[in-house]
């Protein structure tokens, strides 16, 4: 399955409220980050968690966020980053925001 995103792409994490098992932490929902790496394809844990299995596998991405974008009053360097591994169906393309 072709990866929708590639390294360098700005991405927005969907702000969806989903019941059930989710591996996208709340603190990145609705936030914009950047794809650093395509980590491979994996089965969706949201389905595996209920005994489902199998394809389609989907790409998993290492996504970087600037800490100052995630936390108000972040105490640290403006260059500090946070990396989260996020499944493709949680990501949408984002416009690179002007800074």
């Amino acid at each position: 399955m072709a990866a929708r995103f590639g390294p360098g792409d700005p991405v927005l994490v969907r702000a969806a409220e989903k019941p059930g098992h989710v591996r996208t932490p709340e603190y990145v929902k609705g936030k914009t980050g950047r794809v650093e790496e395509v980590l491979g394809v994996f089965e969706d844990p949201e389905i595996l968690a209920y005994g489902g299995s199998g394809p389609p596998e989907e790409p998993l991405y290492k996504v970087s966020f600037r800490q100052i974008d995630l936390w108000e009053g972040y105490a640290g360097s403006a260059n500090d980053a946070l990396y989260v591994d996020i499944y493709e169906h949680w990501l949408e393309p984002a416009r690179e925001e002007a800074r």
């Binding site: 595996l48 968690a49 005994g51």
Partner: protein, 98 residues
């Protein structure tokens, strides 16, 4: 709404307790049984995590790490029809009396 296990950035946090407790035999047993069941394909890591996350928030916060694992393991074994709560009750009572 943030679920109880989704702790990143939680405002309830305080200083980190850096002490280490000696792992007890029953904790080692909980770890091993969980992993063996995984290796045998009886239950998966994803199911295990989901089961832990499904614990009532008060219970999640009250229990120790391996206690949550044991609760999750029991939940899944019952869900899959492998064991029943009654037989676990009975066996636990029997073993206690030894």
């Amino acid at each position: 709404m943030t679920r109880v296990h989704d702790l990143g950035g939680s405002s309830d946090a305080g200083p980190i307790d850096r002490s280490q407790h000696d792992i007890e035999d029953w904790e080692r047993l909980a770890d091993a049984v969980t992993i063996v069941l995984d290796k045998k394909g009886v239950k998966t890591t994803d199911e295990h995590r989901r089961a832990i996350e499904s614990l009532a928030p008060e219970l999640y916060e009250k229990l120790g790490y391996y206690e949550r694992w044991i609760a999750a393991t029991e939940l899944l074994l019952v869900e899959k029809g492998i064991l029943t709560p009654k037989e676990i009750d009975a066996k636990a009572t029997e073993l206690e009396e030894i």
